[in-house]
C-alpha cells in the first residue's frame, strides 16, 4: 500500500485529496493535525469511505521546529513515505496583520515558515531512500504582492521560492517536489469571502487537480488551470498600471 502523509489534514483541500486517494485504492494514511478531535473526525470519514485503508492520526505543534522534527522522524520510522502533502494554512486578514504585529508574526509562521520546516524535515529521509513526492500547497497570492493580502502572499511567496530551490537541489534524484498554487477556493478558510458573494472554485475540482499533479510529479500546478494565465498577466503588469488597480 502507498503511504501518504498529510500535514494539516483537517484542511478542506487536504481532506478532499484524501477522499480521492482512498477512493482510487486502499492506502496507508497518516493524518497530522493540530486539533486531535477534528483530525479524528476526518479519519473516521475516510475509514467509512475505504475500510481497507489503514488510517493513522497524529497531532503536532506546527510552528515549533523541534516538534516538527520529532513528528516527522516518528512518521518515517513507522513506514517509508511515498507522498507527503503539506496543506495547512490560515487566511489571516490583511487588516489584522497591519494592526497587530503578533497576528502578522503568526500568519508568517504558520503559512510560510511551518510548511518549509515540514518539507525540509521530510526531504532528508526521502532523499536517503531516493523515493517519493513532496507536495506543498502555496497560493497564487505568492506570485505578486498585493495590498489586499500581501502578508499571506509573502508567506506563500516564501513557500514558492523554497520549493523552487528544493526542486533544483533534488533534480538529480528520484524525489519530486510539487508546488501547488490554488486560486480562491470554496473552503472554510474562505467562508467569509464566500459569504460576501465572491466566486470561488469548488474544493472537489481543486483536489482533483492536486491529486493529478502529484501523480504526474509536475513541478508547479496552478488550480484551476486558468490561474496560470491570470497570474501571468498580473505578474507582468507594469507597476504604474498595477498600482492603480484595487486588487
Amino acid at each position: 500500500m502507498q503511504h501518504i502523509v498529510i500535514i494539516g489534514a483537517t484542511s478542506a483541500m487536504a481532506e478532499h485529496c484524501a477522499r480521492l486517494w482512498v477512493q482510487a485504492a486502499p492506502v496507508r494514511l497518516t493524518l497530522v493535525g493540530r486539533d486531535e478531535a477534528r483530525t479524528r473526525r476526518v479519519a473516521d470519514d475516510l475509514r467509512v469511505r475505504s475500510p481497507q485503508s489503514d488510517v493513522h492520526v497524529m497531532t503536532s505543534d506546527f510552528v515549533d521546529a523541534a516538534a516538527i522534527q520529532r513528528t516527522v522522524s516518528h512518521i518515517v520510522n513507522q513506514a517509508a513515505v511515498d507522498v507527503v502533502l503539506i496543506a495547512h494554512g490560515v487566511l489571516s486578514g490583511q487588516g489584522t496583520c497591519q494592526d497587530d504585529l503578533l497576528a502578522c508574526d503568526a500568519a508568517l509562521q504558520v503559512n510560510g515558515v511551518s510548511p518549509v520546516l515540514f518539507a525540509e524535515a521530510f526531504a532528508k529521509p526521502m532523499v536517503a531512500t531516493n523515493h517519493g513526492t513532496i507536495a506543498i500547497i502555496g497560493s497564487v497570492a505568492g506570485d505578486r504582492g498585493r495590498k489586499t493580502n500581501y502578508v499571506y502572499g509573502a508567506a506563500k511567496g516564501l513557500v514558492s521560492r523554497y520549493a523552487q530551490g528544493m526542486q533544483h537541489r533534488l533534480a538529480q534524484t528520484n524525489v519530486k517536489v510539487v508546488l501547488i498554487k490554488p486560486g480562491p477556493t470554496d473552503t472554510p478558510m474562505t467562508s467569509d469571502l464566500k459569504a460576501k458573494g465572491q466566486k470561488m472554485a469548488s474544493v472537489e475540482v481543486v483536489a482533483q487537480d492536486i491529486v493529478k499533479g502529484i501523480a504526474s510529479g509536475k513541478p508547479v500546478v496552478y488550480t484551476p488551470g486558468i490561474w496560470q494565465v491570470i497570474m501571468l498577466v498580473v505578474m507582468h503588469l507594469p507597476r504604474f498600471v498595477f498600482n492603480k488597480l484595487n486588487i
Binding site: R41, D44, D45, V48, R49, P188, S191, A195
Partner: protein, 446 residues
Amino acid sequence: MKPVSAWGRLSNDLHDVHVLTDRAHVAPVLAAHRPGLAFGNGRSYGDVCLNPHGHLWHTTGLNKFMAFDDATGRLVCEAGVLLRDIQRLFVPRGWMLPVTPGTQLITVGGAIANDVHGKNHHAVGSFGDHVLGVSLARTTGEVLSLDWTQTPALMSATLGGLGLTGVIVTAELQLRRVGSPWLRTETLPYQGLTEFFELADASEHDWEHTVSWIDCLAGQTARGIFMRANPMSAPQAAAMPSLKAVLAAHQQKTQSQPLRMPFVPPLSLVNGLSLKPFNMAYYELQKLKSGFDVAHYEPFSYPLDNLQDWNRMYGPRGFYQYQSVVPREGGQLAVQAMLDAIAASGEGSFLAVLKTFGNREAKGMLSFPEPGVTLALDFPNRGQRTLQLMDRLDAIVREAKGRLYMAKDARMPRDLFEAGYPRLSEFAAHRDAGISSAMSRRLMGV
C-alpha cells in the same frame, strides 16, 4: 450579506450566511447568530429554505461520514452529506438508500426536514421511515440525541419539520441491500386517468418503482407514459454481460463535466410556443421505448441531475412547482379537474408527474405523503396569471381534502395549509424559538 435563491429562483434576497463546517461547533454558531435557518443544497423550490435579510446556516460543509456497519447497513453521517455521495459510495458495496426523491443532489438533513419520497413510496414509505435517529442542535446551545423510542414526539416533529425544530447535525440511516446498480424497467403508454389508475393498482404489488409522466395540456384525453421498475439481483445482472459496457460508459459520462444550462435566457424557454410540441415529442419518443428494458439507477431515477442549473431555463422570473396529494377516494375526479383547469388556462407545465402513494401514513407531524394520488407540475412565473391558476388548483385540492408539498410551495394560503396539516398545533410545541423561515412566517405567523 449575500443574495440567496431557492431552486425556483422566484426571489434573490440578501442573507447573512454562516458556513457550518465542524459538527462540534454547530451549536455555538446557532446561539451566536439567531434567529436563523438551516440551508442545505438549495434544491427546495420555494421559501422553505429562505430567511430574507436574516441569518442562514449553510450545512453542506458538514459532509463527513462517521460510521458504517457492513453487517446491518446502518450508516451514521453528518447532515450535509449529499444523497449522491452515499449512493456512489455504497451501491458498489451492495447497499443503497431505500428512498430518494427525483434528485440526489440534496443533503441528508434536507431529506429528513422535508421527509422526501420517491417512486417506491407504495413499497417502502418515505425517507423518514428509514431514519433511526438524529442529533439536533437547538439555538439555545444544546445538542439533543433523538430516536423513536426515547424522544418520539420531537423525532416526529423534526421529521418533515422544515428545519424549524433545530438544525439536524448528524443522522443514522438504515440502508438496504441491493444486488446491482441495475433496474429492470417497463414503459407503458396510457390514455386517460382511468387507465393510469388501473396500471398503478396492477403494478403496486409486483413493481417497486412506479411513476408516470402526463401531458397536462391534453385535457380530457390526458395521455401519458407509465414507468415501472424493479431492482435487479446480482445473478440477474451477471447474466447480462452487455451491462458491464453500459456501466463503464455511464461511469465515464458521470466523471466528465456534466452539461450545464450556461446562462439565464431573457425569457422562459418554457412557454406557449415550446410546451405543446415538447409534450407531444416527449410522449412520442417515450412511446417508442415501450416495453421492457434495463436501466442504470442514476439516469432512471434522477433524469435531470446531469443537466446542471436546469432551473435557469425558466428565465429570470423563475418558476413555481405545484405538488398536491389528494385521497384516492375522489382522487381521479380531482386530478382530472386540475388537468382541465390547466388546459383551460393555457398556462402549461412541462410533462407533469403523476404517482400513487401507498396506503401508509408518514411518521412526521408535517410529512407530506399520505395515501392517495400525487400530481406535480412546474409553472413558469408569469405573475398574476400563474397565481390565479394556482388559486383554482388550490380550490380543487381543498375540496378533495388534499394538501400541498411544502418543499415545493412558495405561495399557498394559510387556510389550505392548516386544513391540509391537521397536526400543526401539536407540531408548534416542538419548534425552536430561534428558528424562522420565510415560509414559517407566511404559514404559521412566526
